[in-house]
């Protein structure tokens, strides 16, 4: 069975210079799309990937990452909407490049689908009450 997930990987300093993603491709035949990559001043690496492949191989790949010392989190846990701040205005709707925001045609409420989110961050400063939050 094929699987496709968006995940956030955090690399400790000692792993930053190792070709981890290469191994995912070579050993587990996984397809990847880099959504975001950065190295912090403390030299911790952050990589947001869309990872695709056979479920069995995917699980093995994830296992390999964990054993290597990479911290893994689902992307949807990292981009959140502060429901207290959101006023359902809609300023985010056309700013989002992946269509993660949708207006309910009946209630006109703005629905956020974090499965579509690629954590680009464009919505964050575009939101007047600053309701969107990215926790990296």
């Amino acid at each position: 069975m094929a699987v496709s997930k968006r995940i956030v990987l955090r690399f400790p300093r000692r792993l930053v210079e190792r070709p981890i993603v290469y191994r995912l491709v070579k050993d587990y035949d996984l397809e990847f799309n880099i959504l975001k990559a950065s190295i912090t001043p403390e030299q911790e690496g952050l990589l947001i990937l869309e990872l695709k492949g056979n479920q069995k191989e995917y699980d093995k790949g994830i296992n390999f990452l964990i054993k290597a010392g990479v911290k893994i989190q689902s992307l949807s846990q990292d981009v959140t909407r502060n429901e207290e701040r959101c006023t359902n205005c809609g300023a985010c709707v056309t700013v989002c490049p992946t269509g993660a925001f949708r207006v309910d045609p009946k209630t006109r409420e703005v629905l956020f689908d974090n499965e579509k989110c690629i954590a680009c961050g464009l919505c964050i400063p575009a939101c007047p009450p600053r309701a969107m939050e990215v926790h990296f």
């Binding site: 006023t87 709707v93 700013v95 009450p129």
Partner: protein, 402 residues
């Protein structure tokens, strides 16, 4: 039929007033017909919740011991400068005010994370706010420096006073240039990548009383979650613009200046706003009740999004340079469908004002009236109407010699 506001208030006090929101009344009138609906309905409630820049508040902080004269000095609330051109203990804070050290648009687009609107929201939320004031000192007001926390509950007066709110219609903003622009109408993508609009449409107060038959100076309203009043016509009140057959203005027209005691308002309905690349502001919730005094007034309240047209304006050149061109008209029904067609291109739309919150305001006001908690006022003077000649002129710049 003819009904007076006094008669409606009697019914409100007895808990018998028949009230619908401006959204509900559309179907009520469709079912019953205008005549019957006008006989049965006493009040229609409206609502709008959007960023309204010409908002602000004034405060009397009480006199310090020894006394300090704020007037002519300098004052900051949470580092945001407040206006000190008033007397010794009075301050005015505008929603757009920014801390002196805010980088503004030096790195474009600026984020504008905190300004006057945010201070107002925090005060309303009951949070302490830091006041730092400097004065020049006089014989009767000798003190020169004051640093203290302020809380809204301790202020003598805290009054929201917005000089232009609740615009009757507004532009639909697009960008014809080839780069992204950051405007008060939001982020506008190049080559008409999106179109932003900003009105609650059929729920918006002045669309439901297009000729200001009932809304006037002294009208009691829902303001910021509490009670307020229409103080005057808003600045740039422009009632003489072209209208549809039903009287609906086809561009920005009437506006309201509103006032109310900030102490009884609620931060859910006064939200500090950060407009990327533009500045800070305040999102304000306003709801106006419309007494159904005649069939004509009821008919106005049945206006639908399909009846309301707004001009599509280019914000890369036409708006900044005050050019007259428009790219056509679209209805709010089209805007709310998620896309409009401009110059042969489908353009995705987004709203700047919150329709769900506008619905909530109209429903809240309806509930207040039904429960007898909110009675209506007779306006003491009408707003300048379509035939008044009142309008907006551009600035006529006249150079002077040094």
């Amino acid at each position: 039929m003819a009904r007076t506001i006094a008669e409606i208030n009697e019914k409100i006090k007895e808990g018998k007033a028949v009230v619908f929101t401006a959204e509900e009344i559309i179907d009520v009138a469709r079912e019953k017909g205008i005549k019957k609906a006008a006989q049965e309905v006493d009040v229609v409630t409206t609502g709008t919740f959007g960023i309204m820049c010409s908002s602000g508040a004034y405060f009397n902080i009480g006199h310090s011991r020894p006394r300090l004269k704020l007037g002519g000095g300098r004052a900051y609330l949470n580092d945001v400068p407040a206006y000190t051109g008033l007397a010794a203990a009075d301050l005015f804070l505008g929603a757009n005010a920014l801390p002196d050290d805010d980088p503004r648009n030096r790195i474009h687009p600026g984020e504008f994370n905190y300004g006057g609107g945010h201070v107002i929201e925090e005060l309303v939320a009951g949070k302490d706010v830091r006041l730092i004031a400097a004065a020049f000192g006089t014989d009767c007001y000798p003190r020169k420096r004051l640093e203290t926390l302020l809380n809204i509950k301790d202020l003598n007066e805290a009054v929201l006073f917005n000089i232009r709110n609740a615009y009757q219609n507004y532009n639909v903003a697009v960008n014809l240039s080839d780069k992204t622009i950051y405007t008060y109408m939001g982020v506008l993508k190049p080559n008409m990548g999106n179109a932003n609009y900003s009105s609650a449409g059929q729920l918006s107060p002045l669309f439901n009383d297009p000729y200001y038959r009932t809304i006037g100076i002294g009208t009691k309203i829902f303001l910021g979650g509490g009670i307020g009043f229409v103080a005057w016509q808003g600045t740039q009140h422009n009632p003489g613009v072209p209208r549809t057959e039903k009287g609906v203005p086809k561009e920005g027209a009437g506006t309201l200046a509103v006032i109310g005691d900030l102490k009884q308002m609620n931060p859910r309905w006064l939200v500090g706003a950060s407009v990327l690349g533009y500045g800070c502001s305040l999102t304000v919730g306003i709801g106006v009740p419309i007494p159904i005094l005649s069939e004509e007034i009821l008919e106005y309240t049945t206006v639908t999004d399909a009846d309301i047209l707004a001009p599509v304006i280019d914000y890369s050149d036409v708006f900044p340079n005050l050019k007259p061109d428009t790219l056509g008209e679209v209805s709010y029904a089209e805007l709310k469908s998620g896309k409009i067609r401009v110059k042969g291109k489908d353009v995705p739309t987004a709203s700047r004002s919150s329709y769900p919150r506008a619905v909530e305001i109209a429903a809240t006001l309806k509930e207040w009236i039904q429960k007898g908690k909110f009675t209506l006022t007779e306006s003491v003077q009408s707003l300048p109407g379509a035939e008044s000649g009142v309008g907006v002129k551009p600035l006529n710049e006249r150079p002077f010699e040094y």
